[in-house]
């Protein structure tokens, strides 16, 4: 049985994924759904961050440490940077849809958006 501490970040990632899904499923306000999506996204941050982490590893910046020293993984951090941009982008686009949908149908509640049924 591995130490729970060594798996904690993965459990937190799973939990955030669950929370995000829960928020969207139970949402009553479209802007709220969008923010829940941002929480869902942060699950991937935690997962990627903890995958590349190494106990005692330095940050992968060799400006003040000697090359060749043990560092944490730079690749996942590059992936996370992409992820951060994706988050901002998706939120901006979804919010624009919500704003426009509100202008057209006067509501921001998913329960009242019922033009697409059946």
């Amino acid at each position: 049985m591995p130490n729970v501490l060594h798996l904690l970040p993965y459990f937190v990632a799973a939990w955030l994924f669950f929370c995000g899904l829960y928020g969207i499923v139970s949402s009553k306000h479209l802007v709220h759904s969008v923010m829940c999506l941002a929480i869902l996204q942060s699950s991937t941050y935690i997962l990627l961050l903890s995958i590349g982490y190494r106990v005692g590893g330095a940050a992968p910046v060799f400006a003040d440490i000697a090359p060749g020293k043990r560092t944490v993984d730079p690749v996942v951090q590059a992936l996370m940077l992409t992820d951060v941009v994706v988050e901002a982008v998706v939120v901006a686009l979804l919010l624009a849809m919500v704003v426009k949908a509100h202008e057209r149908s006067g509501t921001v509640s998913p329960d009242e958006l019922r033009t697409l049924r059946g």
Binding site: A13, F17, L21, I24, V25, S26, S27, L30, S33, L37, L40, Q41, S43, T44, L47, L48, I51, V75, V76, L79, T82, D83, V86, V89, V90, L93, L94, M97, V98, K100, A101, R104, S105, P110, D111, L113, R114, T115, L116, R117, G118
Partner: protein
């Protein structure tokens, strides 16, 4: 090693640079110039992709961006595989985009010239998605494709429906992207690599819960894009509201690219994972495919909104393609690719034709169109030819694909798959025929309708001009004629079969990544299966006519014979599920996710 063609990055780079140029000059270009530039760039991309395809036919190669070759076994950079299947999809993407841009020439709303650059970005993303062999790069292009698609879907901002449709689309597909990213995280943690072949090599035949869970997350992500039941709810909403030229790209290629990605993963990354559980995996995928075909087909017949009907037919046909992938043999994959190409054109043609109807008759609901289309002989011809194409009747290319799938299924001992193909073809064709009989002939009594068909779609074109110019007819005609031409042309099918022997072999891909070239094996064709498939195609078309007639002439029939009318009114519980509520859709997504991961983690382990 084979030197890769220097053209390799251009199917992505040219449309991207072009999109930036167009967006830069957006405010100062008038509509005609912007359209011309867009068409020229799409045509240039098509030309480049064709050259690339020619070079890929001479031998497969791999292109390393930034000149980063692998060091020993570690892949440093991102690679594009230049092999006929991926490049062929890039060609298909640029062809469809070109046709769509021609269709939208000058008249349809361009959202103050935002439309053309977004279409070009969409094109670039589809190209990159089909060429890349790096999982994270696949994710990036997935997200790029999605972002452009979300925006394009909501182009018609005058109505509330497009915004809701694109919101549902965006929420579900963004969750798909995070599923894929989580899976990439798992794979990276296990193998420390991002190149597909290297991951596959490192994973070997491991099949602990971790690998299986990563597999499930990845395929669920792509199944959301590919609209497999129960992940399909977003698709009809998005397709019903998107502008016609965008629908063509969504239905013709975007959805199927999800399945293409599933095939890539299954054959490269997880090739050895299921070596001992091939049977169980097939069972899971096949049952999903069958459910998708059934629900897609039944719902398709029950729709009275032209675009929604076509959207469900896409779900049904995507289910058939999943059946082919589930079989997992090289022949099945080649057949699936043939099916994909044929379906893309036929479905594109039908969407273009429905756009023509919206343009000419200013309506898109079946009842509103009733008997209005008398005298539109060209449009009617295109519509009925499209129906025959969907039924996989000869001489359309879809029949060739169906024959291949059937022969592969026969070989694997699952002959019932050809019946699933027949069902899917017949019922979707019947829906198209029914609408055609109502609209163009005015047969029968006024058709029944439902709430969804009433989503008043505002016409996409200016009211003053109801004439139909050649540039509106040409894309539709091309889409219907190309599959007939391709069915006659045998050469490319041989190339495709050989290419799929590389595509489906992990060893072949590894060889390609590490040595820069690979040799294709020769695969036998399936010409002996064509005869059976011709018969089935004709039967499917006749059944479709019969079914459509039981619906159109329902009042002249005894109650027990009104099968069409019964199906047309829809199966209540199924229709209720299609609620248009993002919360419901995400719930169904969760249910699918939980059941698939439970199935794969618990059943496939052992």
């Amino acid at each position: 090693m084979t030197a890769p063609s220097p053209l390799t990055p251009l199917p992505v780079a040219v449309p991207l640079a072009g999109a930036a140029l167009l967006a830069c000059l957006r405010k100062w270009l008038n509509r005609t110039v912007a359209d011309t530039l867009g068409i020229a760039l799409a045509a240039a991309t098509l030309l480049i992709s064709c050259f690339l395809l020619a070079s890929a036919m001479h031998g497969n190669s791999i292109y390393w961006f930034g000149n980063w070759f692998p060091r020993y076994s570690i892949v440093l950079g991102i690679g594009f595989a230049v092999e006929p299947i991926g490049v062929g999809l890039a060609v298909l993407a640029s062809t469809l985009t070109l046709l769509s841009l021609v269709y939208s020439w000058r008249l349809t709303d361009s959202g103050s010239n935002h439309f053309q650059p977004l279409m070009l970005i969409f094109l670039a993303a589809m190209g990159g998605f089909s060429l890349t062999v790096d999982v994270f790069n696949l994710f990036v292009f997935f997200e790029l494709m999605s972002t452009a698609a979300f925006a394009l879907c909501g182009l018609k901002t005058r109505e509330p429906a497009p915004l809701q449709g694109s919101f549902n689309f965006a929420v579900t597909n963004t969750i798909a992207a995070f599923l894929i990213l989580t899976s990439i995280g798992f794979l990276y943690a296990m193998t420390g690599a991002l190149n597909m072949a290297q991951i596959g090599l490192a994973l070997g035949s491991r099949h602990d819960p971790c690998v299986l869970f990563a597999f499930t997350l990845m395929i669920c992500g792509f199944f959301i894009k590919a609209a497999m039941v129960p992940f399909h709810f977003w698709l009809p909403d998005a397709h019903a509201v998107a502008p016609t030229p965008v629908c063509v790209l969504f239905s013709g290629l975007m959805v199927q690219l999800g399945l293409f990605a599933v095939a890539r993963l299954r054959f490269i990354i997880f090739a050895q994972t299921f070596a001992t559980h091939e049977e169980a995996l097939q069972l899971i995928l096949l049952s999903m495919g069958v459910v998708t075909v059934l629900i897609g087909g039944v719902m398709c017949y029950a729709e009275h909104h032209l675009k929604r009907m076509l959207a469900f037919s896409t779900i049904c046909h995507a289910g058939i393609m999943l059946l082919a992938i589930a079989l997992g043999s090289p022949v099945a994959l080649a057949a699936m690719m043939v099916y994909l190409v044929a379906h893309a054109f036929i479905k594109g043609g039908l969407f273009f034709t429905s756009g023509l109807l919206l343009h000419r008759l200013r309506a898109i609901g079946e009842r509103a169109l009733f008997a209005k289309g008398k005298g539109l002989s060209w449009t009617a011809a295109l519509w009925f030819l499209g129906a025959a194409g969907l039924a996989a009747a000869p001489p359309f290319l879809l029949m060739t694909g169906e024959a291949g799938i059937s022969s592969a299924a026969e070989e694997m001992g699952r002959p019932w798959i050809s019946w699933a193909c027949l069902f899917g073809g017949a019922i979707t064709a019947a829906a198209v025929l029914r609408i055609g009989m109502h609209t163009f002939f005015g047969w029968g009594v006024e058709p029944i309708t439902d709430e969804a068909a009433e989503v008043g779609e505002l016409p996409e074109t200016a009211r003053e001009d109801r004439r139909t110019f050649w540039y509106r007819f040409a894309p539709a005609t091309a889409c219907v004629l190309i599959p007939i031409l391709l069915a006659g042309l045998q050469v490319w099918q041989g190339v495709l079969r050989d290419a799929s022997s590389v595509f489906t072999s992990q060893a072949g891909m590894l060889h390609l990544v590490y040595t820069g070239s690979t040799v294709a094996k020769h695969l036998p064709g399936w010409s002996e299966a064509l005869r059976g498939s011709t018969v089935r195609g004709i039967i499917a078309f006749l059944l479709a006519v019969l079914l459509a007639c039981t619906s159109v002439f329902r009042l002249n029939l005894k109650r027990s014979l009104r099968l069409g009318a019964f199906l047309e009114s829809g199966i209540r519980p199924l229709r209720v599920l299609q609620s248009g509520h993002p919360g419901d859709y995400v719930l169904w997504l969760t249910i699918g996710l939980a059941s698939l991961s439970a199935a794969s983690v618990l059943l496939l382990r052992r």
